[in-house]
Symmetry: C2
Subunit: 234 residues, 2 copies
């Protein structure tokens, strides 16, 4: 764990349900990013996840899967993240589906490379919020309370503040960051270029860049350097 | 934490909504039990919790509160446990009420003596199951999956297998125990005398004795010795 996440400042997120031409994928792998996260809110199947994994295999950066369904948990990833949505009234998305997956997989889980990832989904218009029934309209005080819950009660290694598709409230993000004592803060959502990457990297430990890869590769690639420079400044 | 729970093999649970005459309360405090847990599924108020705390103050064993509502979290307890029901579809009972409480209390929580307590509620006829909407009819494989979730994903310090009012399935309890790597197993429910106390103590790390206190004090007190003897045997 320590080795795996503690140095990651920039991560690209690839969606198995979307296509990146080979040359672009190579540019992503050679971009200087710290890791690739594979995941998405819908449309993931065994087949498209396996196909993407195959294209990524052999790269020298860690490839991590967000396991949103047990059938996606193919061997071959460097690590597995188990999302637990914290801000939903649907218990299924907090513990139910996860317990079901653990039951199905029983003794087969490589615990030494598997971690829980608490999610705060904060964009009510995103697919992840719709699917999980998340209460995405939290105030910054409510978000901070969930952060304390993740950090102090659940002792989660990772808390992912997800604005999927929209750049988030950096004031809220800062308040969340302030209450965390051991949990690592990941930020994702709306990072479309160096400026926003830098803003988020000033607060979050890890910045995730996803959607923009599929419509502005140069913008996406420029976020790596922006995060590095922010790191130097801090 | 380590100091607080790691040696506790036997705990009496007192319900602020029920009355124990003074002489009986003194017998409980002098019984040799390791700690007193204050809690209940219904009828707890600020007033009756404060009244019970006052009667317990000055005893030389730790007094711990299960905080089922933030208004009960009076200062003066030696530790605070925050229940999180794992096997419910109602997200409110897993993270929602807890986050609300954390928001209300914000910076006031004494984290050095506050811990999350995962609950598996397994008696469908008990008040706790009704109130929290728990799916109490788990198979032993499902219960073990929730135990892995508590242990490996949520990294909870405590997992409380609760059969409240009924003696539980010791086969299931054994399976739960087997999958735990760091989480401490607490068992409660239907312990009415030395035999059941001993059975549960062979598996669980901590045995909780509650209801029987209110209708068979001698039976209740005899469980302390039974747990001690079981400890010797193991």
């Amino acid at each position: 764990m320590k080795e795996l996440f503690s140095d990651w400042r920039h991560v690209f997120k690839l969606d198995p349900d979307r296509t990146l031409p080979q040359r672009e994928l190579e540019a992503v792998l050679g971009s200087g990013t710290d890791a690739i996260m594979v995941g998405g809110s819908s449309g993931l199947t065994y087949d498209n996840t396996a196909a993407l994994l195959e294209r990524l295999t052999g790269s020298d950066i860690p490839i991590v899967l967000e396991v949103t369904h047990p059938e996606l948990a193919l061997p071959g990833f460097d690590a597995y993240l188990i999302p637990m949505v914290l801000n939903t009234g649907q218990g299924d998305w907090i513990t139910g589906r996860q317990a079901l997956a653990l039951e199905e997989m029983a003794g087969l889980i490589p615990w030494e490379k598997t971690w829980a990832e608490g999610y705060l989904i904060l964009n009510e218009d995103c697919e992840a919020a719709r699917v999980s029934g998340a209460d995405a309209s939290l105030t910054e005080f409510q978000a901070a309370a969930y952060a304390r819950l993740a950090d102090r009660l659940m002792r989660l290694p990772l808390l992912y503040v997800e604005y999927s598709g929209r750049f988030g409230d950096m004031g809220l993000l800062r308040r969340v960051k302030r209450v965390l004592s051991g949990t690592r803060l990941i930020y994702g959502g709306g990072i479309d270029g160096p400026q926003r990457a830098s803003q988020a990297a000033r607060i979050a430990s890890t910045v995730v860049v996803g959607n923009v890869l599929y419509h502005d590769l140069d913008g996406a690639l420029s976020t790596v350097q922006a995060v590095r420079e922010t790191e130097q400044e801090i």
